[in-house]
Symmetry: C2
C-alpha cells in the first residue's frame, strides 16, 4: 500500500521539545502542500516515562483534532537497564513544563510502539519515514522484532548525538543516545539511511523570549500550549546559555525529516555509538576526519550528520506553528 | 637551584614537526630577550623510535651549535604494548622527511629520559617547564619514578588530543595520545597544571608553500633543514587538506609553552583520557559543556585546553626561525 502523501512514524518521549516537534509535525500535516501524513506515534521513556509521554502526546494531538492518529506506548526501560525517572528539572514533573492542557478522550493503542512501527513499515513498504526524537529503545526493539525493517523503511531521521561539540549528559554524550546506548549502537549499525540531527545544530538554533511570546499571542491551541510549556524550558536553559532561551532539538529533527530546512554541512560518514562502560559511553563517534578536505566519500557510510544549517531555524519553526 | 632564565625540558619523537618545534625552541633560547634555557631533551617512540628520534634531535641541535644540551633516550614501547614502527608515510623513513643532515659527534646521555626529567625537576625545583610533543610514555614513567614530580614541575604543556574537532588516528583520537593512551591517562590524572594544545588549533594553523620556501631561502642551517624536511610533510597533507601545506602541531605547543602566542579561547576544564579498549580509546574527553556560557569554573579542573588563537601562528613561527 502506498499513499499520495508521504507517511511518517514519529517515536518520541514527550517532553517540551517533543511537544514542539509534534506541533510542527501536526502543522505540516494540516498543510496540504506539505504532502505528509502522520500514520502513527510511539512513545519511549526518556524525558518522561513512555506511559506519561504517550498521554502527553494524545493530549497534544487532541488539541489539533487529530485523535485519529494511533499512539502506542513503547519501552519503559532501556536495554539492560532501568528507566531513571527522566529529566523533571528540564521538562517539569509532567514532562510538559507543568502546564495543564485538556485531557484527550482517546487511549493508546493495544499495540506496543515497536509493533506499530513494524506494522506500518509493512503497510507503507518502501515509503515509511521514521523520525526518532527520544532514546532509540523502540527502534532497536522493532529491528529485533523484524530484522527486515531497514529494507522496508525509506529513511530514519533522529535527534541525537554530538559530533564536533560537547555532549549534554556527559562531556561527550547526548541524552537521547546516552539514555540507551546499547539500542543506539544497534540502530546506527543497521543497514538503513540515517539522518542524524545532533547537538551541533540543535544547540545553536534557539528560540528566544519574544519568539515564545508570539506563540502564546497566536491564540492557536497547540502554539499557545507549547508557548506556555517553553517557560519552564527557558528557565532550565539559563544555566546553559546564560539567558532565557530554548534549544530546538526535536522540532529541528522533524523539520529536517520533512525537508523544510536547508542543510549547509551534512556529510554522509561512518558513525558508531560507544557502548562500552567507559567514559565515552553514549558518544556518537562520527568519522569526520575529512573535515579539512570537503569530506571525501567513505565506503560503507550510511549516516548523514547535520553539522550546519543555511539559515537560523526559529523563523521556519514559527512560520509552521503560526500558520497551521 | 634556580636560574635567571626559565628552564625547559622537551620530550619529543623527532619527527618533522618535532624538528620544527626544536628549531623554534633553539631560536628562542638563542634570543636573550626570550629568557629561556633548554636544560634537557628526552625522546620517546612515536613518529619514529625513541632511538632514531634521539639521533635526529642530536643532529638538529648540533646544527645550532648546541651539542651541550643533554639528549636522553626514553621509552621504546608504550605501556602494555609494542612500538609499531611510527609513521614513515608522514615523516619519511628516517623521521625527518628523508633529508640527510650532518651527523652530530655527540651521543645520548647515560640517563633515560625519565631519569633526566626527574633529575632536572629536582635541580630546578618549582621552575622547570615541561613540553611534551610526543606520546606521554616518558612523562608517565617519570611520574612513577618520582610521584612528587607534579609538585616539582612548574607546568606541563603538551601537543595532543582533540576537543571539538575529529582525531587524526581514529575518528576521535589524536596520535600522541592514542599511541600511549594508558600513559596519557596517568599524565592527565596527575595533579599538575597542564596546557593542552590539541588538533583544534594545530590543524587550523598551517604553513604554506611560499612560507616553506622562505625557510629554505634563509640560508640559516636549521631553517634550511626543516624547510627541506617539510617537503615530505607537505605531500602527506595533500590527502588531508587537499593541497600542499603543513599542520603546525609541535611548534605551536612550544610557542604556547613559551607564552609567545595569544590565546583566544582556552578554558581550564576537566580532561580525562579514554583508556578503555572501546572505539573511543585514546580520546581526550574534555568537559567543554560550558561552551555556550563562557566556560564557568569547574572544581578540580587543572587542564587548560587551547581551542582558538588570536592570530595565525605561521608568521610567529617564521619570525622565530628566520631571526635566530
Amino acid at each position: 500500500m502506498t499513499t499520495a502523501r508521504a507517511p511518517y512514524y514519529l517515536d518520541c518521549d514527550t517532553g517540551i521539545d517533543d511537544a514542539l516537534a509534534i506541533a510542527y509535525l501536526l502543522a505540516a500535516a494540516a498543510d496540504e502542500s506539505a504532502g505528509i501524513e502522520i500514520v502513527g506515534i510511539g512513545s519511549v521513556s526518556g524525558n518522561v516515562s513512555a506511559a506519561v509521554g504517550a498521554l502527553n502526546t494524545l493530549d497534544l494531538i487532541s488539541l489539533s483534532g487529530r485523535d485519529d492518529i494511533p499512539v502506542a506506548v513503547g519501552a519503559h526501560d532501556p536495554q539492560g537497564g532501568s528507566f531513571r525517572g527522566g529529566a523533571p528539572h528540564v521538562h517539569g514533573a509532567n514532562g510538559i513544563g507543568d502546564v495543564a492542557i485538556a485531557k484527550s478522550a482517546s487511549s493508546v493503542t493495544g499495540e506496543s510502539a515497536e509493533q506499530l512501527l513494524v506494522r506500518l513499515a509493512h503497510e507503507h513498504e518502501g515509503e515509511l519515514r521514521v523520525i526518532a526524537i527520544g532514546p532509540l529503545t523502540n527502534i532497536a526493539a522493532a529491528l529485533r522484532l523484524d530484522p527486515t525493517l531497514p529494507s522496508l523503511v525509506k529513511e530514519l531521521t533522529l535527534m541525537g548525538g554530538a559530533a564536533n561539540v560537547p555532549g549534554n549528559i556527559t562531556p561527550v554524550a547526548e541524552a537521547n543516545i546516552a539514555n540507551d546506548a546499547d539500542a543506539a549502537a544497534e540502530v546506527f549499525a543497521a543497514d538503513w539511511f540515517i539522518t542524524m540531527v545532533p547537538l551541533d545544530v540543535t544547540m545553536t538554533n534557539v528560540l528566544l523570549e519574544h519568539q515564545r511570546q508570539t506563540l502564546i499571542d497566536s491564540g492557536r491551541p497547540v502554539a499557545v500550549a507549547v508557548g506556555h510549556m517553553l517557560d519552564y524550558y527557558f528557565n532550565f536553559y539559563v544555566g546553559v546559555y546564560g539567558h532565557r532561551a530554548s534549544a530546538l532539538h526535536d522540532p529541528l529533527a522533524v523539520a529536517v525529516a520533512l525537508g523544510e530546512v536547508a542543510l549547509k554541512t551534512a556529510p554522509v560518514v561512518r558513525v558508531l555509538v560507544d557502548d562500552t562502560a567507559g567514559p565515552g559511553r553514549g558518544q556518537t563517534i562520527c568519522d569526520l576526519r575529512g573535515i579539512y578536505n570537503g569530506f571525501p566519500e567513505q565506503s560503507g557510510a550510511h549516516t548523514r550528520v547535520v553539522l550546519a544549517l543555511e539559515d537560523d531555524f526559529a523563523p521556519t519553526l514559527l512560520a509552521r506553528l503560526l500558520t497551521a
